[in-house]
Amino acid sequence: MDVLSPTETDAVVARARLGDPVALEALYRCYSTGVYNLARRICRTTEDADDVVQETFFEVCRSIRTYRGDGSIWGWIRSVASSKALMRLRRNKYRATDELNDELAPARGASTALRMDLESALGRLSDTARAVVWLHDVEGYTHEEIGSQMGRTASFSKSQLSRAHQRLRGWLGEEAVIA
């Protein structure tokens, strides 16, 4: 992953807006890992995450002229990526895992051997809940922004986050968290 200084970023973005493939590739090298990580945390499979990366940078190439420089270029690319990842979730319509998750979740105070690590617990959440947790708690999106991207309300996002944390808390166990 390449890192660009703010001045370099501005120059690269200006050239990318003119359709310079070298500049577009520089953006890819700089931000593709961030996009992949976000996509991989929201989608379930590496294949889906790879597809999201391709879709995102194709959209970046096509639409970078519409980027007006209001926010950071990473913020703009990230919003394209999260939108593509959520679209991928909607398209795939994975199995509803909430009920299954409840069954699999160890009760509070159960043996620590049954407790999951955070990575697995995150993977056990429903697609929507996992996306909300990641977008809100890690990427820093507001509930309004998440609700808007999902075509739902801010209350929906809040409720999903609350339920997700309740589940994570149960699956991870208190001691494991405190330790």
């Binding site: 090298r29 190439c61 708690d137």
Partner: protein, 201 residues
């Protein structure tokens, strides 16, 4: 004592005071050790989420992205150029052919005169073939025929009178008079044929 729900704990963590109960939750945490513990666990969990390792793809997707983008650009250019060409061709076609289709051709004065003379002669031939002299007509029809024939004679007379007019003016008047003659000949044919049909019946 009732402890905070997860939603309230999240509101405290995110400093969300949008609901009255969230505002109360802030003061509750200050007084409740169990809820402070839960809030700590929530903070730790969030920190651990943020500390999860960054995942990166094993593939370089840019060549595929660039190929697709360039193909897309090419297609958009082709669509744009073909759209412009189609519009230009349509405009050209409309200006050349459409004008003739939409607006009847304008004949010059000589052509208009010839058309009127031809029509008049055709009607006279029709009347001649009908041979009205050999037909029986009632009094009312005969009266009408006389009126029309008088008016045709008058038109013929005026056609003779305008011979001395200047060419353009004469042409204009000739066209008017021949058209009037055609109209009268039409009426004459109608009267004869209609009356004859009635007689036959």
């Amino acid at each position: 004592m009732t402890h905070l729900t997860m939603e309230q704990l999240l509101a405290v963590r995110d400093d969300d005071r949008s609901e009255p109960e969230f505002a109360e939750a802030h003061s509750h945490v200050a007084a409740c050790e169990a809820c402070r513990g839960e809030l700590d666990r929530l903070h730790q969990r969030t920190a651990r989420l943020r500390a999860l390792p960054t995942m990166s793809s094993a593939h370089n997707h840019f060549p595929a992205v660039r190929a697709r983008w360039q193909w897309d650009r090419q297609q958009r250019r082709i669509r744009l150029v073909s759209g412009v060409c189609t519009a230009a061709a349509a405009a050209l076609l409309l200006s050349v052919v459409g004008r003739d289709l939409l607006i009847p051709p304008r004949l010059n004065a000589e052509q208009q005169l010839q058309t009127a003379i031809d029509a008049s002669q055709q009607l006279e031939a029709t009347l001649h073939a009908w041979d009205p002299a050999q037909r029986v007509v009632d009094g009312r029809t005969a009266q009408l025929v006389v009126v029309i024939e008088d008016r045709i004679a008058e038109v013929d007379s005026r056609l003779q009178d305008i011979a001395r007019l200047e060419h353009q003016e004469r042409l204009r008047r000739q066209v008017e008079l021949w058209r009037e003659r055609v109209s009268l000949m039409n009426a004459l044919v109608d009267v004869h044929v209609t009356q004859a049909s009635n007689v036959d019946l």
